[in-house]
């Protein structure tokens, strides 16, 4: 389902298997547990790189599992459960005491895109994979912390409209132009992973204090972090 590997300073979190890596209560729980593990093992110079196998980075919540509840109310409850239990995963990424980089091997949709955007740096491929907020097409309302993420991380109202309201499937080159990802200059999965490893190593070389790093990250996104119940651990002083 997912693994955590250590390569020197770099923690590599991988969503394994050739499936859509949908977020289901079990995957959510596993990812959270691995993030907690990375946090507990972090030292100066640690960096997290998150990637996945196959055609998908993640295609969002497990809607089939929600439908399998067998009733409208049941489905709604299961959706609600996934939305609520996913919030701590996002919070854990914003709280992580090290730089974080998402290496998108393929498509990132809905909560899968949220997961990607929760990283400090996002790289994708230019040959494969789209970013897609499917909610508008599926008739699903957007959870409050999803909307807050878009306000925090995506700078222009045009980009936010294209993603959230137009339900556009955005490829690498356009994603860079819209300021959604940092780089899409990679035409293979090896290319994007190598580039993130390279960035990871240069960030690791700074040997930053992880707690200070996390505090500064949280002060970059105060609205979103308040919604995730995250506060800076270190009191600011001149």
């Amino acid at each position: 389902m997912c693994t955590l590997e250590k390569r020197g300073d770099l923690f590599l979190l991988t969503l394994t298997g050739d499936d859509e890596h949908r977020f289901h209560p079990d995957t959510i729980s596993s990812v959270l547990s691995l993030l907690e593990q990375a946090k507990s093992q972090s030292t100066r110079g640690s960096v997290l790189i998150t990637t996945a196998h196959g055609k998908f980075f993640s295609n969002g919540f497990d809607l089939a599992w929600a439908q399998a509840a067998g009733s409208q109310t049941g489905a709604v409850n299961r959706m609600h459960q996934m939305v609520e239990s996913f919030k701590p995963v996002i919070a854990a990424l914003f709280d992580l005491p090290m730089p974080t980089i998402a290496a998108l091997n393929g498509h990132a949709a809905a909560s899968g895109l949220m997961f990607a955007l929760s990283h400090d740096y996002v790289f994708m491929r230019n040959d494969r994979g789209v970013l897609y907020m499917s909610e508008v097409d599926l008739g699903l309302p957007l959870p409050d912390y999803f909307a807050a993420m878009f306000a925090a991380k995506i700078g222009t109202s045009i980009a936010r409209r294209e993603l959230l309201l137009s339900g556009k499937k955005i490829k690498g080159e356009e994603a860079v132009a819209l300021g959604i990802v940092d780089s899409a200059a990679h035409d293979s999965v090896e290319g994007v992973v190598d580039a993130t490893v390279s960035l990871g190593q240069s960030l690791a070389a700074k040997k930053w204090n992880g707690e200070v790093y996390a505090s500064i990250r949280k002060s970059l996104y105060p609205g979103l972090c308040a919604m995730l119940s995250l506060t800076a651990k270190i009191a600011a002083s001149p």
Binding site: D120, D182, K206, V212, S219, A232, A236, S237, P238
Partner: protein, 239 residues
Amino acid sequence: MCTLEKRGQLFLLKLAGDGEHRLNPTLLDSITSAITQIRSDPSSSQSVLITTSDGKFFSNGYDLALADSDPSLRVVMDSKLRSLVADLISLPMPTIAAVTGHASAAGFVLAMSHDYVLMRRDRGFLYMSELDIELVIPPWFAAMIRMKIGSPAARRDVMLTAEKVTAERGLEMGIVDSSYGSAAETVEGAVKLGEELVRRGVDGHVYGGMREALLKQVLHTIGSNESVSNRMRNSGSKL
């Protein structure tokens, strides 16, 4: 510590001498006193402020060595800079920072507290150094950065990658308005811009009020400071 010169309708405030112009209590008081002098000038609402510096540094931030020797001075410096920045935000005239040297941390914030940032491109950088020296960034610094830097990626580059931002990168990020080939050319550029702004004949009091409205969120995070607001109320508004 800082000198104040008047050239026609332009006030030239210079952080003087060849040092790092660290924002210690003495320098902060000196700058604040110059601003008070500017405010009390009868033609202030038809003027322009240009802030610049001598030497390699615009300002290298707070005096951290001083704070290490006396931790209570941390609070004093922060409080004085908040007051000064609130003062600059309400100043009834356009303000231009002619960045002729490195501006780090609080020094970067001081530059950003001006309406226009002009910078030399042959050397020098803007740098939020905190991450590299293991300090967190005060929320009001982050509020200024959010106000003045539009792109989330650029804000991240400044605060979380601690990028040393050259004039060229500053132009790309929208932090810097224009760049020049040398320190002298930067000041010349500021003077030209200042003269243009004077020629437009804007009412400084209206201008200052608009700037305050625009930067309301930043002022809010800086926190209400009674002595600042009292001083501003008494500074001879026409209304």
